[in-house]
Symmetry: C2
Subunit: 191 residues, 2 copies
DNA sequence: ATAAGTACATACAGTCTGTATGTGAGTAAC
DNA sequence: GTTACTCACATACAGACTGTATGTACTTAT
């Protein structure tokens, strides 16, 4: 499809082909969703053949997984290195929204990902969108809740963060969501 | 496929066929998801032919929509008749969880629905899972928040309710989630 | 009684996914 | 450096699925 024939090491060819596939797939998955995107479409966009795709990835889902892993890596350390800050909840919140502001990321990680791969696998991949950090911050900030109640609080607030990030990614003003989330956290902290 | 030949009015035949299709589709969509379920599978389960399916519904998505509309109708009045109760937030919460306890409903309305039809259409169908009621309850209960902030609060808490309902539908103990949500609501009420 | 519409059933066209197979360039062993 | 082997594809194919077109028996309207 393209000129890969001139003196290139295999490792470079593979890296290049995979990068093209991931970039093309990411673009199309963001625009049209997983099931709305066909593999012929992806390889056309990437300027490779379906043979190349199925050589590197077991199936369409595996390519999708590779796209999300790249996305998750990109977020990676942004949130986790925050646990020890003065106000970890506020800092973590800011870091989360900052990470989710990258175009397409919210749709990939919060909509397509949980549906295609299942919520469990997404959680395992990115640590639940920083839910672990959120849980830790909550555990340190609140009193009078059992462990399972803190788990529930973290899960519920995490869902709120996700929904807010999605709304903001779709064009909503961020401030009301930030205020609302901060107020919710302050509210339980005060109990 | 079945014995529809003996003296049946068209309106009855249609109603019966549609009911069969909706029941079969609901079962399979709950078990295997929308894209994991094929129309041959649905009609086999319903004991009709694909011709019947495509006679009554424009496409597979339209059948899915009919399933969700039936589900939404079933919930219907359970939540809306609550706005005028002494503690509308607590009563609404209980009604919501009660409605979402019906097997399969959480997956259909909270996972498959938003993905297949889009979150906007689901919201329009069931009033955002009672988000309107939640917003009204919040508006009456809290002070010092702007309208858009109350919107944001309602959306965030609504996402929390959904996530909790899903976790409970998947087998989690309900109590911690109830406690957590009630604490969150009490917390902002007190501000 | 006849004409028109309804509710299907069947057949078909197009597209998609994943696999099987073939080929040339790269790599390793000697 | 030559030979054997592996890798990175490219191409061809089989099976399944979706939606449509067409044909038919049963109703309903006139």
């Amino acid at each position: 499809m393209q000129d890969n024939s001139k003196r290139r090491r295999n490792v470079d060819r593979s890296a290049d082909t995979k990068a093209r596939l991931i970039a093309a797939a990411r673009k199309l998955f963001v625009e049209k969703g997983f099931s709305g995107t066909s593999t012929p479409e992806i390889v056309r966009q990437a300027e490779v053949t379906r043979g190349a795709l199925y050589h590197h990835y077991a199936d369409k889902t595996a390519l999708f997984r590779a796209v999300l892993e790249a996305e998750s890596d990109a977020i990676g350390h942004a949130i986790e290195a925050i646990d020890k800050q003065p106000n970890p909840l506020a800092a973590g919140s800011a870091a989360y929204f900052s990470a989710m502001a990258v175009p397409g990321r919210a749709r990939l990680l919060l909509v397509e990902g949980p549906f295609v791969l299942g919520a469990a696998e997404i959680d395992a991949m990115d640590g639940g969108g920083g839910r672990a950090s959120l849980r830790a911050g909550l555990a340190a900030a609140v009193n009078g809740f059992s462990e399972t109640e803190i788990d529930a609080l973290a899960m519920i607030l995490s869902a709120g963060f996700d929904r807010a990030a999605l709304a903001i990614a779709e064009g909503a003003a961020p401030e009301p969501y930030h205020v609302a989330l901060q107020s919710l956290i302050e509210g339980i902290r005060a109990q």
